[in-house]
Subunit: 396 residues, 2 copies
């Protein structure tokens, strides 16, 4: 059978192969990119879904508008307003089947083969692969502890004339890095100056441990005239409420949003109205602030425990910046004293010792850093984290 | 802003424009392609979703495998077995976000720009548009009351060397036509003879009024050696249970299924596990046979009422075959006695008289039949059907 040529642009990920090993009994896993299911507000979701089926069963179970279920769009617009976004009406966003679908719609709507998409190096693996299925060249821009290096970004915009720049500015995956306020404003200025679409993917911004991070690019866009016209923002309930609902959203200029909606019509018609109505009732019930507060405090404790354990067990064999939110540690093996400095090799040895994480190299569109590793602190409790990092020390 | 070139292949549909007029008060609509929400088994779905949240809340609300929620895959395999499909295991299908997503994944996995996809003329509008976003030429093959004309299909396979042939063999949309048993076997033979993928889209096959229709191409494939290797089957709960769950499925040869799964991973990661777990519990509870029996009897009565009213009110101004299942009448204006014979013009006049339907021309990939119209009998009750068809007679 002859498949489409676009499939040649995407490889089966090395990470997926690793995930197959996670079934081994007794493995402590820091490999996943998902929230802890023990923290799901099951009771709140049950109440919300029952309300949806009681109050508007016809709408919750019927076909719906491709743009999304209107009461959910209204709740999401209010949620964004509570995070400092100005002038957003319900019609200014569409609901997507998780923010993964927003990425797919962005690519479908904008990317021609041979276009260039700039991404952070490293970035979310499924973004690279998602984009590549539409044929563009995906090029990484270097980052540091404060997110993407904006001078370098400007150089690369001039060099590559990219169709879009994709960023996870807050608690990035896999980097954990957060773009500084100053750099956020620069990114918005670059979008206007070079007429370049900037995609802000923000699934982790609500998961901060102490102080709130800087406002989103979207919230800051009114400080940079014209920038809103070049800005796409992707949000998601997956990391803060439940990935299984598959409720994300996409905010974009009207013309682009209309075209993405047309693409969505032929991708899946619309997102599950049952899930959307459930999410709408959940948000309406006002449970989100308490849910967020709970999730933040648990993850903060786990992040602290992991940072402490890494210092204790691995010492100067590893360098990292303590994350202030999100789900991930991003660390580099130093190779000090002749120790292992290859993330992929350490991942293999670690599995033998009963602990799993993912090597960092696959997260780079190009120029992979083979010394990097990603560790999630979200799904293991503090005791498991201590034990797992001790095993990692042994593996090293 | 520069959008992707692929968007130039798709127009905003004339039908969508028409749908905007449906909000007019007092309109009786035969325009939609959806089931009657008054028939949804709300109580059964509520019980199923509560069971999902009680018995496996972690799984129902967490990320899941791209292939689908395993208990649902098992239920769906059993459902297909009950309809005569042999040798299908849970791993032989993937769950999709409605069968619309299956169409998108098929196109993404198989179609290069400049490939040819053969479809029925007329066929489901969203299939034509969905395929065109991947750049192929979509070409219609003539049909009659017994479905696609297989001699013509063979000629066109030889002429176009298509990458795939897309059919709705049972109670087609918009045609209402059902492919005869003899033709089904011929289609399977053609797939093998010309090494051509055949896509069987089957959202309506369970909605029969009297005798069951011939077995699906999938169920018949063991009678034609080798044909299963070229066959994709798309199923859906949308027309029989609830569109709002967005639960469809796709059955295909293993290699193709693996590639479609990879494409799905980057399209929406997976279908809502909440919706999938709900559907799994619904099927497991054994409520489907009663639900189907109810839906069939109501639609059968409405189809009869519509056929009778059309004969009474429009007489020889219209020709049609009485449908034996599905949701649609497909009819041709004869223009007899100088009456109107243009479907689009009649649709406009009908709206003024307070009744809506969709003209047939947009359902053709090419060579549109402008005399055709599509009428859905699914959502109006018998009294409304009588009144609506009387108005249609006045419009004519």
């Amino acid at each position: 059978m002859q498949y489409a040529d676009r499939l040649n642009n995407v490889e089966t990920s090395a990470i997926r192969e690793l995930f197959k090993l996670l079934g081994k009994p007794g493995i402590i896993s820091f490999a996943g990119g998902f929230p802890d299911s023990a923290m799901f507000d099951v009771e709140g979701i049950r109440e919300a879904s029952n309300l949806a089926l009681t109050q508007e069963p016809g709408a919750a179970l019927q076909y719906g508008a491709t743009e999304g279920y209107q009461p959910l769009r209204e709740q999401l617009a209010a949620f964004m307003a509570s995070k400092g976004v100005k002038g957003l009406s319900a019609d200014g966003l569409i609901v997507t089947t998780g923010s993964q679908q927003a990425l797919d719609l962005i690519a479908k709507t904008l990317l021609n083969p041979n276009d260039v998409a700039l991404v952070e190096g490293p970035t979310f693996l499924a973004t690279i692969q998602c984009f590549r299925l539409y044929g563009p060249q995906v090029v990484g821009v270097p980052i540091d502890a404060h997110g993407v290096q904006v001078d370098k970004l400007e150089e690369m915009i001039v060099q590559h004339k990219p169709k879009l720049v994709y960023l996870i500015p807050t608690f990035g995956n896999p980097s954990g890095a957060t773009l500084s306020l100053e750099r956020r404003l620069r990114v918005l200025e670059l979008a206007v100056k070079y007429k370049t679409v900037v995609v802000e993917d923000d699934p982790y911004g609500d998961l901060y441990f102490g102080e709130a991070p800087p406002p989103s690019l979207l919230a800051l866009s009114d400080q940079v005239p014209g920038s809103r016209e070049w800005l796409i923002h992707c949000g998601s309930l997956s990391k803060v409420l439940s990935p299984g609902l598959r409720v994300g959203w996409m905010i974009a200029p009207p013309e682009l949003l209309a075209r993405a909606t047309m693409c969505k019509q032929f991708s899946d018609a619309h997102t599950s109205t049952f899930a959307q109505a459930t999410a709408a009732h959940y948000l309406k019930a006002g449970r989100m602030p308490a849910t967020l507060a709970h999730v933040r405090s648990v993850y903060a404790e786990r992040a602290q425990a992991m940072g402490d354990a890494l210092k204790r067990e691995l010492g100067d064999a590893l360098t990292f910046t303590q994350p202030k939110g999100g789900l991930f540690f991003w660390a580099n093996l130093t190779g000090v004293g002749g120790k292992l400095n290859d993330g992929a090799e350490l991942a293999k040895r670690a599995i033998e010792k009963g602990v799993a994480f993912v090597p960092g190299a696959p997260f780079f569109a190009n120029n992979p850093d083979t010394t990097a590793i990603r560790l999630s602190f979200a799904t293991a409790d503090v005791e498991k984290i201590k034990e797992g990092i001790a095993r990692l020390g042994q593996a090293l």
